[in-house]
């Protein structure tokens, strides 16, 4: 698909023939330089923006407007400050006309799922930033979406909290089986969470590479210290650095893994970790 905006009368291409598919139940991350159009891409996928050309579909069914099959989590929690946590979570159901008993039931269940069972009665201003983002994730799951889209959801959190949230997201994914598409600018986060990492070029965005991640699941935080993880991260970083030359990318990735080799890893080179 392609997408551009008209700014000051000039057409500014943002997405240039971006194409990818996400197998059901996978976690796919999209990384790209700042301003590469990651968020635009996510909004097109969510049906909030219509592409100038091309299309988005889930299981062959076109998405051309906001769609209940898609749950969207923004960079900020975007909670309604005048509603308690429980009413924020069940807000999508209220809009969809679900009766209050079912709303309450589903809301409590979702809050439990994100570890906030005891906070249903709290107003957003009484919650921490991390708790608010959990409420936002619970809200995105309210209508049982088949795809969960996350737009840099943890970028406002400190490093340790962020790691914890990554683990919790994996747990959530295992419990719900939802397909997850995550936009992030953190390479470790992308590699740790994903089955595949899609690397975008600077604007106008093209898909530079799709890096498969073969870390075994379920993953624990110790995976962050393994060689497979480091090689995958190095490959993503090399693609992101914008070198179009495959040999250079290999060399860059090799240089990164050499440091690991010194720590006793085997000397063979396998940037995508296929042989692990």
């Amino acid at each position: 698909m392609s997408q551009g905006f008209v700014i000051d009368g000039r057409h500014l291409p943002v997405l240039d023939s971006v194409s990818f598919s996400v197998p059901s139940g996978e976690i796919v991350s999209i990384v790209g330089p700042n301003g590469s159009g990651k968020s635009t891409l996510l909004r097109v996928v969510a049906g909030l923006l219509r592409p100038d050309s091309g299309s988005v579909d889930i299981d062959g069914q076109l998405i051309d407007e906001a769609d209940p099959r898609v749950g969207l989590v923004f960079q900020e929690p975007r909670l309604l400050p005048w509603r308690r946590a429980l009413d924020n979570v069940s807000f999508p159901l209220e809009l969809a006309g679900v009766n209050s008993r079912l709303r309450r039931q589903r809301g409590e269940q979702l809050l439990e799922l994100v570890g906030l069972g005891a906070f249903g009665g709290a107003y957003p201003h009484q919650l921490s930033g991390g708790m608010r983002q959990r409420v936002a994730i619970a809200r995105a799951l309210a209508r049982d979406p088949s795809v969960l889209l996350l737009d840099e959801p943890f970028s406002a959190l400190d490093a340790l909290t962020r790691e914890r949230f990554n683990l919790e997201l994996l747990k959530l994914w295992q419990q719900t089986g939802t397909t997850i598409v995550l936009v992030t600018h953190s390479i470790p986060e992308a590699v740790f969470l994903s089955d595949r990492v899609i690397v975008l070029s600077p604007r106008p965005a093209r898909v530079v590479a799709e890096v498969p991640i073969s870390l075994p699941r379920p993953r624990s935080i110790s995976a962050l210290d393994g060689a497979t993880f480091s090689r995958a991260a190095a490959a993503v970083r090399a693609h992101l650095a914008g070198s179009g030359d495959d040999d250079e990318i290999m060399a860059a990735a090799a240089a990164d893994t050499d440091m690991l080799a010194q720590a006793g890893a085997p000397a063979w080179f396998d940037p995508f970790g296929r042989q692990d």
Binding site: A66, R78, L80, L95
Partner: protein, 252 residues
């Protein structure tokens, strides 16, 4: 309890200073009661008027005019304010007339309105509504416009209807501004009612003032009536503040 007393203390002190200064002016200037009655004279007259029932029916008349006019004016202002906020065309076409109407003194318009609509309840309600309209409409417009675009995008992603967007996203966000406009509006409504009653009325506190100053020549009664008007304005203002606290207090 002691906390409450401590909070009330400065309020009482300021009131004491106000009445003390008033009394001082009367004593030092040696004014007769028909020029400037002392506070206790006004207080006694007010008490007598309340007891013998001269004020109550007039206060009730004025209060109902104010409340009706406020409800009518504020409702219209909410609708128009929303329209102005969401339609650039409506704003371009309507706002010159709104501003011009606001700039025309209500004092000048009131006789005309009384001429067209008579001196009954209707003309009072219309004058009150007119004077309430502008501040509430502007506050609504500003409030709706200040709605966070990110929350509106959330609404779009959840396929909220236009009504749902208004009810669940725009109105709650605009509420603090709207209630601010209503605070101003409700006190203006009191002025509107008094002006309307001056132009022509059979009852009401404005009518009472004209009477006390003119044929009765009872200046303490006139002051007592003024105090009643001020108390009504204060009570209405406090009511709006309480509504505000109830609606937006918990989440702010």
């Amino acid at each position: 309890m002691t906390g409450r007393i401590r909070q009330a203390l400065p309020v009482l002190a300021v009131a004491a200073v106000f009445f003390g200064a008033w009394k001082l002016v009367v004593v030092v200037g040696d004014y007769p009661p028909f020029i400037l009655p002392a506070p206790e004279v006004v207080g006694q007259r007010l008490l007598r008027a309340v007891v013998d029932g001269t004020l109550a029916p007039h206060a009730a008349a004025t209060l109902s005019e104010v409340i009706l006019g406020f409800v009518v004016g504020a409702t219209g202002a909410l609708l128009v304010g929303y329209l102005l906020a969401r339609s650039a065309l409506a704003e371009r076409l309507l706002s010159p007339y709104l501003v011009a109407a606001q700039a025309t003194p209500i004092l000048a318009l009131a006789p005309l309105i009384a001429l067209w609509l008579g001196t009954g309840l209707l003309s009072k309600v219309v004058i009150c509504a007119l004077i309430v309209f502008f501040p509430v409409a502007v506050a609504t417009m500003v409030g709706i416009r200040s709605a966070d675009g990110r929350l509106l995008e959330l609404g779009r992603s959840l396929r909220a209807s236009r009504w749902q967007v208004f009810r669940h996203l725009e109105l709650p966000q605009a509420l603090p501004a709207i209630l601010g406009g209503m605070r101003v509006g409700v006190t203006l409504a009191v002025i509107g009612a008094i002006v309307a009653e001056w132009v022509g009325a059979e009852r009401g506190l404005g009518h009472r003032i004209t009477l006390a100053r003119g044929s009765l020549f009872d200046i303490p009664l006139m002051f007592a009536t003024l105090v009643t008007i001020a108390l009504i304005g204060l009570a209405l203002y406090v009511t709006v503040v309480l509504v505000e606290r109830r609606l937006i207090g918990p989440w702010r």
